[in-house]
Amino acid sequence: MVVNSVHWFRKGLRLHDNPALQETLNGADTVRFLLESLEDLDTSLRKLNSRLFVVRGQPTDVFPRLFKEWNVTRLTFEYDSEPYGKERDAAIIKMAQEYGVETMVRNTHTLYNPDRIIEMNNHSPPLTFKRFQAIVNRLELPRKPLPTITQEQMARCRTQISDNHDEHYGVPSLEELGFKTQGDSSHVWKGGETEALERLNKHLDRKAWVANFERPRITAQSLFASPTGLSPYLRFGCLSCRVFYYNLRDLYMKLRRRSSPPLSLFGQLLWREFFYTAATNNPNFDRMEGNPICVQIPWDHNPEALAKWAEGRTGFPWIDAIMTQLRQEGWIHHLARHAVACFLTRGDLWISWESGMKVFEELLLDADWSVNAGSWMWLSCSAFFQQFFHCYCPVGFGRRTDPSGDYIRRYIPKLKDYPNRYIYEPWNAPESVQKAANCIVGVDYPKPMINHAESSRLNIERMKQVYQQLSHYRGLSLLASVPTIQEEAEPPMSDDSQASSSTAAVCNYTP
């Protein structure tokens, strides 16, 4: 019997370890990356005598038509664990059934099926990273990735490609979708599976050469986009997280000759996994109201201040440089994210994390729904039991990270002639220095929009107020204001086989 199969690409824009196409068309750069990834996929499919079919419209409208037109008998796609995805897919599966189309779904966007982790944690998602790691430590290894689809496999299939394929089903251009391009095609992050795999190799080469798997301490160089950075490719699924996982693991074991690598080796992947797991059953994960894990904080509503932050006009060069890099390139280092997120929310502006999340959604190439929302909640101390005492100073933190000021000079060229002493706080420079640098604060570059000492003082009080109400704690301690992590005192996890990391089960904490 002939099987007519349609594979629906959503997030998994790759042919390696794949079974799924993202529809969140937000910022232009994100769309560009997406389109490049689609082009790349199309090119790879062409080599296998097939093509990518880009069909526009809502899945619920498009699929019935395609099912009929193409006589489809099977529909395959990659599992999407996000609440919106699950809802959409349930509707599609139901509809497919009505049309007699068999659906096959595979979980490959995350290392594990989030439901498995939830099951292992007494049927609720772990809300501390420690707990999460403890559970992962007890699980079997993630399923091994499949190799790339081969010519032989594809030889058994036949794709009907019409002459005017490009017209009807070709990958659209940015202009067609209504975005303006600057015509500059030299982007730092090029979309697609090919690029992803090349970068993976370079990433591994560098690790092998350094022979050091420790988390590198941040240097000034880390702030700039790295040719071995992988996060956007993981988000769009151009790179399989399992391929990354196993490559890292194999390299480690080869070089270190140890039995198994520590969990910290997979830090980036596990954080991603953590947030996917936390979000999968929570449709309100990306907002404060109605979100059971989010602390209700009386954030300020101030569109003007938000715009200054989003557009890099705060008057704090460190913050402005980061937001400029973000807007220009679509990626910033994770410590830079901490700095601007803290500044927007609990550190200085006291604006809701939801606003920051939306800006990142538009500008950041690796911001997927779960990770972006989860990280913003984390950084604003709205969830996951975070201590709120440490505040990133918009002057000091920048200066300590990059004393040379080169990062500032690169992204805020107006300040390039400022001496290192004043480049992080130009408003404190004497007039003569400002004149010599040809950049007067208040004229050529904005004045600082707030007084950081004052704001941080106020905000630490606000946070304290909120947390004291939560835990009914009326003490003086700044630290003990954070509700205790009850997870740690809960009974052991469902699977009590190995004793390797049974740390979470037994402990006595002081409330």
């Binding site: 910290s264 109201e289 009386p298 954030w299 201590q387 440490h390 404190n428 009080e461 700044l478 037994v506």
Partner: protein, 445 residues
């Protein structure tokens, strides 16, 4: 037993609890309870099947139930019948109230309904005793708060709190407007026990009015960041209000005289003193407090907690930590130098909690060890953007042992050395603490 579904009183703006329901139907034992509580002259009429008449519950029961209901549910209940409406207005239900004043343009939170506010002023101002105002960053909200305050003429408040939940909007008001509103309360209350007026334009004359009317009863005064008050103004409070147990103010108001006044014979034992040391401009000079003044405080109130929050530039710590200071809770909200932290170890024997937001990239090994040695009461420590070598950190924990109930260290703080790596440090630390411990983490994506 009567079957009611009761909810604990909730403040608005808290996490939303799903499920409306306030009162459900009568249970099997209802008549018995009502019989027991029936008063002689009321006319309860039981229905044929023994069910109770919900419209005729005794006031005591209604009061109990209504006290458990959040305000909105109570308001709904009050619409049910005249009897319940009367119960809604029982004085006991209006002892405590929190006015939430928010504008849609500046806040996501709901506000107390203006009609309800009118009702409260009209019918309940003389019942109010424990009142707070939560105000968002708009001037309108602060004005609305003052409006209400000015109308509380029949009020004899015990506690008053003016709380800015975002930017301090009370400071945007014309000073006289604010002062006259506040003075209404000071003059009418005469038995104010607790007053929270941080970030407001309160001034010396209004403090005099406060003192003139409430000196016998005032126990708690929080007035951090009130720029219009002078050291003389607060000294007047300390001199007259001998029952003062809790005081929060800015460093510029602190003086030797103040500490001596708080330690005078007639004064009760002070429990908490909170001081915010804030730099307005870089290079600001701060006065110093004599050691003898602190000694007097400790002699008079041996158990008092001294909470100090520092928001200074690194080079402004000159006058601080030169002599012994009885600080118990110490917070450095900006970068503090290695040298100053070294001095902390030498001068703060009573230290219970130390929180360092940032230090810079020189390891604090020696300083931490010294603090472990000298600060024998230390039970809580938090380190943000600092560096400590893993070995020194383990040493520190070993010396403090189990008395460290709060150890909040950012993962980036710990620098691996030849003895310990990041992956094994938490075992060592957990061992010495006697419980499971991990550093604080931040997402790296």
């Amino acid at each position: 037993m009567c079957v009611f579904r009761m909810k604990r009183g909730q403040k608005r703006g808290d996490k939303v609890e799903e499920g409306g329901g306030s009162v459900s139907g009568p249970g099997p034992g209802a008549p018995e309870v009502c019989k027991r509580l029936r008063r002689g002259d009321s006319e309860e009429r039981e229905q044929e099947d023994g069910a109770v008449d919900w419209g005729r519950l005794p006031e005591e029961i209604l009061l109990q139930i209504f006290q458990y209901l959040p305000l909105l549910d109570r308001a709904f209940a009050s619409q049910v019948c005249r009897g319940w409406n009367q119960a809604f207005h029982m004085p006991e239900l209006w002892r405590c109230f929190e006015f939430e004043l928010n504008q849609p343009a500046s806040s996501y939170l709901k506000a107390t309904h203006p009609d309800l506010i009118k009702q409260i002023i009209k019918r309940h101002s003389n019942h109010l005793q424990y009142v707070s105002f939560k105000v968002d960053s708009s001037t309108e909200s602060a004005e609305a708060a003052c409006d209400i305050l000015s109308q509380l003429v029949n009020c004899s408040l015990k506690t008053l709190g003016l709380i800015s939940t975002a930017r301090p909007s009370f400071m945007e008001l014309p000073k006289s407007h604010f002062i006259s509103a506040l003075t209404v309360v000071f003059v009418n209350s005469k038995s104010l026990s607790s007053l929270k007026i941080d970030d407001t334009p309160v001034d010396d004359p209004s403090l005099k009015v406060l003192v003139a009317n409430n000196s016998d009863t005032l126990k708690l005064l929080k007035m951090s960041s009130c720029p219009h008050v002078s050291p003389a103004g607060i000294l007047c409070v300390a001199d007259q209000c001998h029952g003062l147990r809790e005081l929060a103010l800015n460093y510029h108001l602190l003086s030797d005289e103040l500490l001596l006044a708080l330690s005078s014979e007639r004064h009760v034992h002070l429990e908490h003193l909170r001081i915010d040391v804030v730099s307005e401009n870089p290079g600001q000079q701060f006065h110093s407090i004599k050691k003898s003044s602190w000694d007097a405080m400790v002699r008079h109130s041996p158990k008092f907690n001294l909470v100090m929050y520092f928001f200074l530039y690194e080079d402004e710590f000159g006058p601080f930590f030169r002599d012994e200071v009885p600080v118990t809770h110490l917070y450095f909200g900006r970068s503090v130098s290695k040298e100053v932290l070294g001095r902390v170890g030498l001068t703060c024997p009573r230290l219970v909690e130390l929180v360092v937001c940032a230090n810079g990239l020189r390891p604090l090994d020696e300083e931490l060890i010294r603090i472990a040695e000298r600060c024998k009461q230390l039970s809580a420590i938090g380190l943000g953007e600092c560096e400590v070598s893993c070995s020194a950190f383990v040493e520190f924990v070993k010396m403090c042992g189990g008395r460290l109930s709060q150890l909040s260290i950012m993962e980036e703080v710990l620098v691996p050395d030849n003895k310990y790596g990041l992956d094994d440090i938490h075992w060592e630390v957990s061992k010495h603490l006697g419980r499971v411990w991990f550093p604080d983490m931040m997402p790296t994506w």
